[in-house]
């Protein structure tokens, strides 16, 4: 397995170079360094000297891909692309175009993101699986039909509606939790309880439907019939046979997102004022801060690759038939 993991990690290198190249090309096709300088420096009283000084300070005064003024070594290395991209592979994220150290920002903002995303994720899976099993127990009944109608209705409602409704009832009308905000430490739970509950509830519709389908597929297999014929109780059938076997496809959809959890959620973080990473990239795009955009895209790619690798590994753990080679 170790050789498999090493091979997969090596495959990731060209992918990351490609992602970097693509991000760079797309960004600079839309924005020139001069325009970035104008956005950063503002409209008022701005002159050409200030633009040149800004570009020089941040290394945007070099050619994009090829420096024809340099000799063979500097031809490719003394360029914006080389300067801004190669360091990423050593996880040296440098400074944002505003002048702040990016790694400091990421380290600071990942914890609030995790504080919302992790409980929402774990509770969401537990609630969805529990409810799906509950519905499967009543398969074919009116309750099952009613539950599915409710799930479709819940899926049809926009996530923003859950946020507004939650804030309106729990915070504004009943004064049970703060409308939004965040404080680190022991008092954080007061701010996290509403976004977590909303995160869980808004995912119930799709989650329960998906897991119900997976469990029903398992429940109709021969080994389940055999278990019942042997006299295993209905609960035993569900928890000892259907659930473990139904977990294999669930893992594909779950494990892959685990590393990305700390990237946060734009919607929840914006509306609840959680200072996480969710809005970091979007803010950077709006501010034309290429330094942050490239770092976050790079980080997102690394985490996605990591997620896929973890999924493959988890298969071997839950299904002994699977062997990585």
């Amino acid at each position: 397995m170790i050789s498999y993991i090493i091979r997969r990690l090596l495959y990731a290198v060209p992918i990351l170079i490609g992602v970097n190249l693509l991000t760079f090309a797309l960004f600079f096709m839309v924005n020139t360094p001069d325009q970035m300088a104008r956005v950063q420096l503002g409209d008022k009283h701005m002159d050409a000297k200030a633009i040149e000084a800004w570009k020089a300070e941040r290394g945007y005064d070099k050619p994009l891909f090829m420096n024809e003024r340099e000799d063979s070594e500097g031809l490719l290395t003394d360029t914006i692309f080389f300067d801004k991209s190669v360091r990423l592979f050593a996880l040296d994220f440098g400074k944002s175009d505003e002048g702040r150290a990016i790694i400091e920002d990421i380290q600071q903002r990942m914890w609030p993101s995790l504080a919302v995303a992790l409980p929402s994720f774990i509770l969401g899976i537990l609630v969805n699986i529990s409810l799906a099993l509950f519905v499967v127990m009543f398969r074919g009944s009116l309750f099952d039909t009613g539950a599915m109608v409710a799930c479709v209705a819940m899926m049809s409602i926009s996530g923003v509606f859950y946020v507004f409704a939650g804030q309106f009832f729990f915070a504004k009308m009943w004064h049970l939790v703060p409308v939004s905000g965040y404080v680190p430490g022991a008092d954080a739970w007061r701010f996290l309880i509403l976004p977590v509950v909303i995160g869980v509830i808004s995912g119930i519709g799709s989650g329960v439907r998906l897991y119900r389908t997976l469990f029903l597929e398992e429940a109709s297999k021969d080994y389940v019939r055999t278990a019942r014929a042997k006299g295993v109780s209905e609960l035993g059938v569900l928890f000892r046979h259907v659930l473990p076997n139904g977990m294999i496809p669930i893992l594909t959809s779950v494990v892959v997102v685990i590393p990305s959890l700390f990237m946060g959620s734009l919607l929840v973080e914006s509306f609840f004022g959680i200072p996480g990473l969710g809005s970091y990239t979007l803010d950077a795009i709006q501010a034309q801060d290429f330094a942050i955009v490239r770092c976050m895209v790079f980080l997102g790619s690394v985490l996605y690759i990591l997620g896929l690798l973890l999924t493959d590994i988890s298969y071997t753990l839950v299904d002994p038939r699977v062997r990585l080679s």
């Binding site: 050409a48 505003e98 600071q108 049970l176 022991a186 701010f191 914006s270």
Partner: protein, 771 residues
């Protein structure tokens, strides 16, 4: 009581209660139920603490006078040389003290000494340095002599901490040496120092240093003697140094226009006369930064951990920044070293009646702390203001109807706000928004580029005819464009129609009949000595269109419809654009909306490729020059490659000549007469289709005191006070926890679960085969 501790106690109590209850009914109180009931009980008991359940502010500050506010976008720069945005000024202007400040209560805006003993003394001299009177045509230099009050001290800061040997306590030779200091709080020792004239001089040198990217460097270099040369010298020195040793002690270099007279006195020499310079002396660009502080922040390794002056300001002001987490919260606390500064004892007539002089003569600041929390969305912000958790708020479009009611008597607070004791301030923002025509465009402008070759007599006559056609077209559009309706629909009535670039509150603004743009508006008397401006009839505009060669919106020569282009950065099809198309359609003009991103938009304006667009300007300082220069020919965007502020590229030699005269004049009837002539030219040439000046509405909760909107200065926190007892009381009144619905929901869920459980049990007991 501490929330976490109380939570633990609550869990214990809940656990005990549940144990007792579970003795009686095993089925009902199984473990999942016990867990949910315990959680509910935790919530209920945690709520027994003094703090309201939904209070977003940690209960850790006791009875301190704390103002709670918010910010919607994180400040980018807090360096006084670099910052140039109101989002940033609201923080740093409480910390940094420039030599002058604006009187808090008096209107029109009045400059007064801040850290100075008196207003700057101005001496005039000729090209050889000989003194000449102010009015002399020989004036080549003006020298501002500034005298600082002794005894002003900086906030406590590690840059001022001294070791036992009397040298600065924190000095690092390499990044490794500074490794243990991960944040500014890790520097446990602090010190202070008296403010001296060197600190102001150092900051002006920082403005001149191109590495500091000061947005006003170019503008000030035109006036301050030796500023450009100083910048070039620093840059040359820096270039010769290795990349990690680029910091230059600016004290080691002299700047020709700056002179240190003694510890408390220095002078700044300007080229010629520049009366508006006094306003710049009230801007944070001219706040003191000691060399010690600059050196401290430029030590190796600190910038990698965001320990820079751009994020951790150091000043002599009433407040100091004790927490700067722009992703979450920014905290200002009272500067313990702040000098004696008393609340003003005079103001406008109505200030006494409004209670604004109740604190006259009392030492400032009144607040102990100001907490700004990041709030990106308007709805949570508004909800928290109504709950009392923010002390002050603006009025967003979503909450406008809830906050105010519009009636025959104008805009007033809604009954709901009055019931809560909320008060409203209306601020006439010193800003101007306008519909601009690009005067270099052949159809709507008809003006020739500044560098175009001279025309012969015949071509000049032809060009004059083209320019006149364009002028009439612009005037017709100005009449068709109903600015009052636009303000009513898109700004909820928060603004007023402008007749020229100068907004209300600034010398040169004229209201009523005197200020009327007679070419676009008619004056309608109300019979009581008053009246109002109404747009000329649309038929008159159509007549102008015909005279311009576009009868019914069609070119008289070709018969083709006239199509004009409006440049914008907002997406197509929104209500604003549909309304705009309708305005032009009144004249038969087809308006083509060209939406683009901000970069492309800026490029079009800079290169003169736009035809019609909307633009705006907010005042740097309260002087007519700061608005009339928006139409000064040499400031044209195209002529200056984007550096100028004249976005419509308007150029009129007579206007420019009058501007050159007006900018040097003191506010006087003579100056007003010159301004009036300039406005006449502006109204005749109509380079802007319409103008409006925005109003800002600010709401205050009833415990907030001493607030008066100030259009120019952001340095107002030291005047504001709150009544914390009243706020605590209102918090409790407005936010009683309502648990009945929650219990009902939990009860329903319980019943649903119980029903499911019973149904399942029943299903298991169904007999497939009957005996």
């Amino acid at each position: 009581m501490d929330g976490a501790w109380q939570g633990l106690v609550s869990v214990r109590i809940a656990g005990t209660l549940m144990n007792r209850l579970s003795d009686h009914s095993e089925m009902l109180f199984n473990s999942p139920f016990r867990l949910s009931f315990s959680l509910l009980l935790v919530m209920l008991l945690a709520g027994c603490q003094e703090q309201a359940w939904n209070n977003p502010h940690p209960d850790e500050d006791g009875d301190a006078r704390i103002l709670y506010s918010s910010f919607s976008s994180r400040p980018k720069h807090l360096d006084p040389a670099r910052s140039y945005s109101s989002d940033e000024s609201r923080f740093i202007d409480q910390i940094y003290e420039p030599p002058l400040e604006y009187h808090y209560l008096k209107r029109p805006y009045e400059l007064i000494p801040n850290t100075l003993t008196e207003m700057p003394q101005i001496e005039y001299s000729d090209a050889h340095g000989n003194p000449v009177p102010e009015q002399s045509p020989l004036v080549a230099y003006s020298t501002y002599v500034l005298t600082i009050k002794p005894g002003i001290h900086y906030q406590p800061h590690p840059a001022f901490a001294l070791g036992s040997d009397g040298n600065p306590r924190y000095r690092f030779a390499s990044a490794r040496d500074s490794q243990e200091y991960q944040s500014l709080e890790d520097f446990t020792e602090t010190g202070t120092r008296e403010l001296v004239s060197d600190d102001y001089i150092y900051q002006i040198k920082r403005l001149a240093d191109p590495a500091n990217l000061s947005p006003v460097r170019g503008l000030l270099a035109e006036f301050i003697v030796g500023m450009d040369e100083f910048g070039d010298r620093v840059t040359a020195i820096r270039k010769e140094r290795p990349r990690n040793q680029r910091w230059v002690n600016l004290d080691d270099l002299d700047m020709e226009g700056l002179e240190r007279l003694n510890d408390y006195q220095f002078s700044i020499r300007l080229k010629g006369k520049y009366p508006q310079f006094r306003y710049w002396l009230a801007y944070h660009f001219f706040a003191p930064v000691p060399e010690l502080v600059d050196e401290f922040y430029n030590q190796p390794g600190l910038a990698d951990r965001n320990i820079v002056l751009d994020w951790h300001p150091v000043g002599t002001g009433a407040f100091m920044m004790t927490r700067n987490d722009p992703n979450e919260v920014i905290v200002l606390e009272r500067n313990p070293n702040f000098r004696e500064d008393l609340y003003p004892s005079e103001g406008e007539k109505e200030d006494e009646a409004n209670g604004l002089l109740a604190a006259a003569g009392q030492p400032m600041p009144f607040l102990d702390k100001v907490v700004y929390r990041l709030e990106k969305e308007a709805i949570p912000l508004w909800s928290k203001f109504l709950q009392g958790y923010y002390d002050r708020s603006g009025i967003g479009a979503d909450s406008f109807d809830q906050a105010v009611s519009v009636g025959s008597q104008g805009i007033r607070l809604s009954d709901e706000m009055i019931e809560k004791g909320i008060t409203m301030e209306i601020e006439v923002v010193p800003g101007t928004y306008y519909l601009a025509f690009n005067m270099l465009d052949p159809i709507v402008g008809g003006q020739r580029p500044h560098n175009a070759p001279r025309l012969n007599a015949r071509d000049a006559k032809e060009h004059q005819k083209t320019a006149e056609r364009a002028r009439k077209l612009r005037q017709a559009i100005s009449i068709a464009f109903d600015q009052e309706e636009s303000i009513s629909i898109f700004a909820n009535g928060r603004g007023e129609v402008g007749m020229g670039p100068i907004p209300p509150g600034i010398f040169g603004y004229q209201t009523g009949r005197n200020g009327l743009n007679n070419l676009v508006y008619d004056w309608v008397d109300d019979g009581n000595g008053g009246g109002r401006a109404v747009l000329k009839p649309i038929e008159y505009a159509r007549k102008l269109m015909a005279e311009a060669g576009y009868p019914d919106g069609r070119d008289a020569d070709t018969g083709k419809p006239l199509v004009l282009n409006y440049e914008t950065t907002s997406g197509g099809g929104n209500s604003n654009q549909i309304w705009l198309i309708k305005q032009f359609r009144k004249l038969g003009i087809e308006l083509n909306i060209r939406s683009t991103d901000y970069n492309r938009f800026q490029e079009k304006i800079r290169t003169g490729n736009a035809q019609i667009f909307s633009w705006g300007w907010m005042a740097d300082y309260p002087d007519a020059e700061n608005f009339l220069f928006l139409l000064y020919g040499p400031n044209g965007q195209v002529a200056t490659d984007g550096a100028g502020v004249n976005s419509s590229n308007y150029s009129n030699p007579e206007y420019d000549r009058l501007f050159d005269r007006m900018k040097l004049m003191p506010d006087s009837p003579e100056r007003m007469a010159v301004i009036r002539k300039m406005l006449d030219i502006f109204q005749h040439d109509a380079p802007w289709g319409s103008v409006w000046h925005p109003h800002a509405y600010v709401l205050n909760n009833p415990w907030v005191k001493n607030t008066k909107a100030h259009g120019i200065s952001q340095s107002v926190l030291k005047y504001i006070d709150i009544d914390p007892e009243m706020r605590d009381r209102v918090w409790a009144e407005r936010n009683p926890p309502v648990i009945t619905p929650l219990l009902t929901v939990l009860g329903l869920l319980f019943l649903l679960g119980l029903g499911g459980y019973l149904a399942w049990r029943k299903r298991l007991q169904v007999k497939v085969f009957h005996d």
